[in-house]
Structure formats: C-alpha cells, structure tokens
Symmetry: C2
Subunit: 353 residues, 2 copies
Amino acid sequence: MSREITIAIDAMGGDFGPEMVVPGCAIARERQPDTRFILFGDESRIAPVLDAHPELARASTVEHTDVAVGMDDKPSQALRRGRWRSSMWLALEATRSGRSEVTVSAGNTGALMAMSKFCLRTMPGVERPAIAAIWPTLRGESIVLDVGATIGSDADQLVDFAVMGEAMARALFGMERPTVGLLNIGVEEVKGLEMIREAGRILRDSGLPLQYAGFVEGDDIGRGTVDVVVTDGFTGNIALKTAEGTARQMAQYLRSAMSRSLLSRIGYVLARSAFDTLRAKMDPRKANGGVFLGLNGIVIKSHGGTDAEGFASAVALGRDTAVNGLNEKITDDLEQYRRDQDISLKVAGEIAS
Amino acid sequence: MSREITIAIDAMGGDFGPEMVVPGCAIARERQPDTRFILFGDESRIAPVLDAHPELARASTVEHTDVAVGMDDKPSQALRRGRWRSSMWLALEATRSGRSEVTVSAGNTGALMAMSKFCLRTMPGVERPAIAAIWPTLRGESIVLDVGATIGSDADQLVDFAVMGEAMARALFGMERPTVGLLNIGVEEVKGLEMIREAGRILRDSGLPLQYAGFVEGDDIGRGTVDVVVTDGFTGNIALKTAEGTARQMAQYLRSAMSRSLLSRIGYVLARSAFDTLRAKMDPRKANGGVFLGLNGIVIKSHGGTDAEGFASAVALGRDTAVNGLNEKITDDLEQYRRDQDISLKVAGEIAS
C-alpha cells in the first residue's frame, strides 16, 4: 500500500492561499510520510510558511509563478487571462505530464473545472466530467455525484456517473460490490424525469456488473441506503448544500439549547467527551474534497474557505485516489461498459435482421 | 380573528386512518375551539374513536362512505375506481361546494393532488398548482415551494410560485414585505438552468410588488436568508427530503454520543430540559402539512405516517390559511400580476409600433 505519491498543489487557491494550504500539506505529510509535493505559486509567500515546516520542506519542490486565479474569476476569464502561467493551470499540467499523480486546489470550482477539462481532457467516451462528494451517512460513507459540474444530464451521462461512482466506491471504500441508486422523487405516478427513468432502464437491463438498487429519495442519502447516489449536478449541488445547511442549523440549535440554563451548562461539561465525539463526527472538514471524475487525471477540489485541517483531508483524499488506482479502475470499467454495449447492440442488430 | 372555520377531513387517509385522524382532530379542536369538522369515511371505524372524544363529537358531522383511496394507489387508479364516493373526493367536494373552507388529508400525495386538480380546478391563469412547505430556519420559518407537485417548471410557473408563496408568507407569517429567492446553484459561470434565470429576470423587471432577493443556494434555506424559496417540484422535493434525512441523522448521532459513557449519561440527565427544547424544536410533527396552492380551495396534505399530534398541526395550518384568507390573497395578487403584465406588454407594443 505504502508507495510514494507525488501531489501537485495549487498553493494560491482558497480564501487564504499559501498561509492555509502549506500548513495543510504539512499535516497531510505528517500523517502520510510517503507523500511528496510540488507547490505552485508565489514563492515569496510560500517560502516563509514552508520554513516553519522543515519536514514538509524536505518533501516539497516550490515552482514559482505570480499568476493566480481569483476566487471570483469567471471560468472564461480564468481561461483567457494568462491561464498558462497560473498556479492552478501549472498544478494541473504537472498531473497531465505525469510529474504528479493528482492535483489538489482550493481555488474556485468553476475555473478549476474549466481548466481541468481544458488541460486534462475528458476520458474517451465521457462527455462530461462529474464532481463526486463523500457523504457521511448513518451506515458509514456514501458517494454522491454529480454535485455541481453538470446541469441537466441526459440518461447516458447519468449512466457514466453510475459507472464512475461505483468504481470510486470500490477504490476508496474497498467494497467489492457497492450498490448504486438514482436520486428521484417518489410522489408522482410517473416518477421523476424521463432521463432518470431511462438511466434506470439502462442500468437494470444493460448487464453491467454493477448492483443497481433502483430509485432513492433525498432522505435515503443520509440513511446510507445505497453506496453510490447518482444525480445531475444541479440537483446534487442543491442536496449537498441543503444538507450542509441543515447540519449547521442543528448544531446551532444544540449550542443554544445547551447554554440556556445552569443545569444544561453543567450537563454539557460532564458530557463534553460525547460532544467532542459528536463534533468530530459532524466536522465538515473531515469530508472536505470533491473528486473530479472522468478526466485523464484526478483533481481534488477543496472547499475554498477551509482551514489547514480541512485542506489536509483533501490532500489525503487525493492520495487515496492515487494509491488505489481510481482512474485506472474507472477507465477499465468504462471500456468494459462500452464493449458490452457494442455487443448488445450487435446482438440486437442480428436478431432484428 | 376568532371566527368559526369548518374543515373537511379525509378520515381514511394516512397509514393509520380514523384511529390517528380523529384523535388528531380532537387535539386541534381543543386548541382552537372555533373549529368544526366534517369527517368523511367508514362510520363503523370513526364512531368508536369519536365516542372517546365527546367535545370533538359535538363539533363534528360524520358522512359515511366505504370507499377509501389506498396509500399505494396510483393517481390514475384513484381517479378511475369509484373516486366519486371515496372519502378523499368527498372531503374535496365539500370545500369545492363551500360547505367547508379547507380540506385536510393524510392520504397519498399523488392521488390527492390529482383529485384536487380534478375537483377544485386550478385558479384562472395558473397552469400547475404547487405544494408549499413551511421550513423551520435559524431566523424562524420560511416557505419553500414547490416541494413535489410539478416536475421541470418553466419560468412562468416559477413566477406564479413566487407570487403564491409570497402571498402565503404575508397570510401566515403576518409579514408585510416577505423576501423571495430562487433556488439555484452558484458554481457555474452561467448560473443554473435557463428557466431559473428567465424567472429571475421577470421577477426583477416586472415591477411586481414583491421583494425579489435574487438566487439563493441550498444552505440558504436553513439559514433563513429569504422568507420564500422558489423552486420546481423535483428539486424542492429532493431538498426537503434531504434536509429531513440530515436532521434525523444528526439526532441519531446525538443520541449515540450521549449514551456512550456514564458521564455523558449523567450530563444528559442534567441537561434534559435543554434536550427537550431541542427535541421540540426539531420535532417534524410541528412542521407537518404541505399546502396545495393555485387551486380554487385550500388543501392540506399531512404526512401519511404522522401521529395524532402531527395531524393536529396539519389541521391548525389549514385553519390558519382559512382565517387569514390565503386563497383570496393569492387570487388578488395573481390578478394584479396579470394586469401589470398586460399593461407592460401593451406599453412595449406601443413603443415598438
């Protein structure tokens, strides 16, 4: 398991840049010593922070550039204005050329996705990449995709997401046969949108070596009903942010309830370790990192507003995808799927003729 | 405020029928004595429960029918098979004919919506009704619509939802100028689907007397960023169920954290009143009841699996809509909106000619 992984880091990404990113890498390196870093960005800001982390410094190369993509830059702006020299682009280019195995950035999602597509290109046969999120559930963790790369996916794209998400569950969770569900609503006679039903038919009938579990609803995500939840990027993004908002809301309710009276404050002190467990469980930093799937190279998008601890989670996630050969698994599965499709089309053609 | 309201009840709806519905009405009647009920359903099941609630019995009429819509009946089945005699239909018919001011049912959503459209008909100019949910937020309560009646709404329908939801916030929350946001995602350069952007343009430029606050994201719902969140029924349903699932998940985390050690259990006992407050705050029964908007009559859909306490909330919500003239407000606002639209089209035509 323990082979050395090189990770390309966009050191200028996120709300705080190198002052957050570099300490994040230091935490990740401490936990996973077999990790090397190429840090792209403004050397005058990176060097002083790196000086404070000599262990990381020994495992890192700094490549200077003074161009950074702004957190509010539109993707088209980012692509137009000196993109070739930006820390984001250079970090992607390192993975494209094979100098690194994965790229991690806390930069803005739209620009990072646009540049990733441009630099790494989509895998053969994949029309649109997806962003996969790891979602804590009552049963452990599930993968939800797409959470924001695409809007209004058609049935074929949803099927691609299912294949990619399933490969990710096998790679990251070590599962042999993860279950896959399509996110839908259950109240209409004709359930959900046509493309979801069509994707359901393909997943059921295609003979894919994939455990298709049917439609799931919004509350099935947190319940962990299936290991992989497939949806288009619009719905997935709304679901992800709604869940984040609800978790914050519950935490806020809990805080104000516990500080209401003397007794509840004493109770809080006594039960502190329980609350610490709870806080750790609900810590959004632990689940930090969206995985861009369907590109010729893995890219991890960290939350822009996260701290060093959160960035370290994104780095660890990136390392995991590389160690477990996520992209090779996806490539193999997609090839297998296309082959099976071709065969069934051929068989269908022969029967028809 | 305190005038007598008559409510038509589908006593056979929900997972438990009259044994849950009738005690629910009894709780509602106890809290709001100026409420009368017409209970539709199987008299042999309703009567014994009613006997246990003499105060409710004095305020109720029972109208017998032995036809009930099943919880799993498809809307088309429900409409085909003896619908005219079902408790659901009769409860809607009572509101249509003016014998009652609102209908409450815990029956299946698809059948109830199909029958409501058929029986009550949509308001003039409204193409599709919506289901509005009251969503607890950090600032109080917001209205979210549509949470499941429509799939893939166009811009005009979203604007109708905005007008109806805003009227509901004024009627139920007593607000003068509620704010309205369109649910969208924030990561794409061209944000969201075309119909949402088009609806945004109409709401901004139409001169509607409505405080349009722009796009909001999933986590803005729980934050209470706006008073009315507008979305299509597919997205709204996913968001609602995802939030319910997340709240349940957090409650489960909390329960297992608090029972882990002796100290945490003692802490729990000391802070019990705080936990009771929290539990009351998170009680899904308090927010029970989806309001069907855009029909010539108000229909409240209670959760099918709720208990008497939850059903009482749905009844109270129904009473509220009637007391505050929700449907009159919606009718007035939609008329005003159509008039303004006609004028601006005319002006635009005159300028163009």
